[in-house]
């Protein structure tokens, strides 16, 4: 059955996707509202922070008016939302008062780069290991994969980061310890540890899930039938097995992306990578609320978009989900 083979099918798919899109938009509104609310409820007066101790009442009133803080909250939320769609979050409260947009644009590419490679590594190795473990269920390879994935889920990345630096950078002297402005080697050497460390937790989760899902699939009758018919093993496991077991894993890629985002806060701090996570932590330490809001919102929006993409792909990948989403 092809996707656009007949009209009702395509309509159904379109409907399912629109519903999912509507939920995505609601999520975006919720996340933006909570982010906006956080600054409203923050203790202390922003104007005092900006104007300084000695400012007169008139100066404060003027700043308050210039910043629009004397208008009702819903007007300001509306403006926050409109600004956010253009990545305009106003100016930073501290330092050079740089527009927040500039610091986001400067740091986002690094985060995306590390996250992309980490996700790719996690998905490819996770699915491969999980599938192999399921094929040889309860044999030594399965036990090793399970053991390693348990380690991957339980060992925190901020424990792994310094320990791997200790081994590979300080003892073996193979890799640099942190990111530097003037790099002596190609970026690969600087990013390999951050990417590997960031990928381990999602990799372990995806491995366990791929294994469980593949085991479920392999125990079904159609697999036994295919085996009896004499389908060669590679075709059996890939076409009959993996194609049916991959869906829960694809869903989990979306959720794992969340751990990857918060994990990047840690990895970027540990390796001094100029990414959005490190920007967020620095702005928290400086109490720079517009930047805190912007980094949270950007991370939240990325998470929602990735999950949206995953969910939209699902009915396209799997006819069973297309059927059920009427």
């Amino acid at each position: 059955m092809s996707i656009l083979g007949n009209i009702p099918d395509a309509l159904r798919l379109f409907r399912a996707i629109s519903i999912r899109l509507a939920y995505g938009v609601l999520s975006l509104i919720f996340v933006s509202f909570v982010t906006f609310l956080a600054s409203e409820l923050a203790p202390g007066d922003v104007v005092d922070l900006i104007a300084g101790e000695k400012a007169t009442v008139e100066t404060k009133a003027r700043i308050r008016h210039d910043m629009g803080l004397d208008r009702p909250w819903y007007t300001r939320y509306g403006e926050f939302l409109v600004g956010a769609t253009q990545l305009d979050f106003g100016k930073s409260y501290v330092g050079t008062k740089e527009p927040v947009k500039d610091s986001i644009m400067r740091t986002l590419p690094m985060t995306m780069r590390v996250a992309f490679w980490a996700m790719l590594l996690a998905a490819s190795i996770g699915i491969t290991l999980g599938t192999l473990a399921a094929i040889w269920e309860n044999r030594w390879i399965d036990k090793w994969v399970l053991g390693l994935s348990t380690l991957g889920v339980t060992i925190p990345n901020f424990v792994l980061a310094p320990i791997l630096v200790l081994i590979f950078a300080l003892q073996l002297d193979r890799l640099p310890t942190t990111w530097e402005e003037n790099r002596v080697a190609s970026d690969f050497y600087y990013l390999v540890l951050p990417v590997v460390i960031l990928s381990l937790r999602p990799m372990a989760t995806l491995t366990r899930l791929a294994r469980a899902s593949m085991i479920d699939t392999l125990h079904q009758e159609f697999i036994r039938l295919a085996q009896a018919k004499g389908v060669p093993p590679v075709r059996l496991y890939l076409r009959h097995g993996l194609r049916n077991s991959i869906l829960p894993v694809v869903t989990a890629i979306g959720t794992s992306f969340g751990f990857l985002l918060t994990g990047s806060f840690i990895v970027e701090t540990a390796f001094a990578l100029p990414g959005i996570g490190r920007l967020a932590i620095e702005s928290i330490q400086k109490r720079d609320i517009p930047t805190i809001q912007a980094t949270t919102l950007v991370a939240g929006v990325l998470f929602i978009l990735v999950n949206l993409l995953v969910d939209i792909f699902q009915p396209i990948l799997d006819p069973r989900i297309r059927e059920s989403q009427v």
Partner: protein, 269 residues
């Protein structure tokens, strides 16, 4: 592995309870910096000459204390809202479920980081409260989902309907007949959740936005030891080891308890 988990946790709890009392002060300089492991300082001293064992023990008190408080808060909110999400009238039920779903739009502990970011403080006592509040706000939605799904499976079971047919109020039949059945699974999931909360607390402290110095926390100890790891790698190993083994043990305990409460789940996932 299950028994390893239980024994290790017992040791950690014991050390957290009596450790700080029988060793040096965890806050002050008590010896020369980087003193080696020995009879005076069991695990040596850190870069400021503070007893590492005493700091680990006090850190255990902080981590377990924060973890248990947050999990208790999440359970109270989660069980109440989860039950209302099944038995409540529509005008209560639907908003609860929608709001819970919406909370999942925030990945992992991002919301906790936002809350801490806005309320960040360098005051020590307040920093602990901020960590507890932000993690509790992040932790409750998953409890609601679990409780709601579980309560829903019991709602129409014969023994629940029978008690209602005999005239029991909804409140009575829920608290006396439905919720007791959830004990096993909630206990098992709580162990895994507790591991997640302790991990999150350590991560925040590692990032420097959690528990503020000089209060010791495993996460901030790792971050501190990282700076001197070229010359004194052993100081990095202790907090890493204790934290990892604690997370490990709680996960094994949770898996073991789940296997006990649900024999079908054995050998899967």
């Amino acid at each position: 592995m299950f028994w390893f988990g239980i024994s290790f946790l017992a040791v950690v709890v014991l050390v957290a309870l009596i450790g700080p009392a029988v060793t040096h002060s965890p806050f002050e300089k008590v010896g020369t910096p980087f003193a080696p492991t020995g009879s005076q300082f069991w695990l040596g001293t850190d870069e400021q000459g503070r007893d590492i064992f005493a700091r680990l023990a006090y850190g255990a008190r902080i981590s377990l204390g924060i973890g248990l408080t947050v999990q208790a808060l999440a359970l109270v909110v989660g069980i109440t809202l989860g039950t209302l999400g099944v038995y409540g009238p529509n005008w209560i039920r639907v908003p609860i479920l929608r709001f819970t779903d919406a909370m999942f739009a925030f990945p992992d502990v991002l919301l906790a980081i936002l809350i801490i970011g806005v309320w960040s403080t360098t005051n020590q006592a307040q920093s602990i409260l901020a960590v507890i509040a932000s993690l509790a706000i992040t932790a409750w939605p998953s409890v609601v989902r679990l409780v709601r799904a579980q309560v829903a499976t019991y709602k129409d079971r014969e023994f629940v309907l029978a008690s209602q047919a005999l005239g029991a109020s909804t409140f009575y039949s829920v608290t006396r007949h439905v919720l007791p059945h959830l004990g096993g699974i909630i206990l098992a999931v709580s162990m895994v959740d507790l591991a997640g909360i302790i991990l999150a607390e350590s991560a925040l402290s590692f990032l420097g936005i959690g528990v503020q110095p000089p209060i010791p926390s495993w996460g901030s100890m790792i971050n501190q030891a990282r700076l001197d790891m070229a010359s004194h790698p052993v100081n990095l190993v202790w907090p890493c080891l204790v934290l990892s083994l604690t997370i490990f043990s709680l996960n094994f305990l949770g898996d073991g308890l789940r296997a006990l409460s649900d024999p079908k789940s054995q050998g899967r996932s």
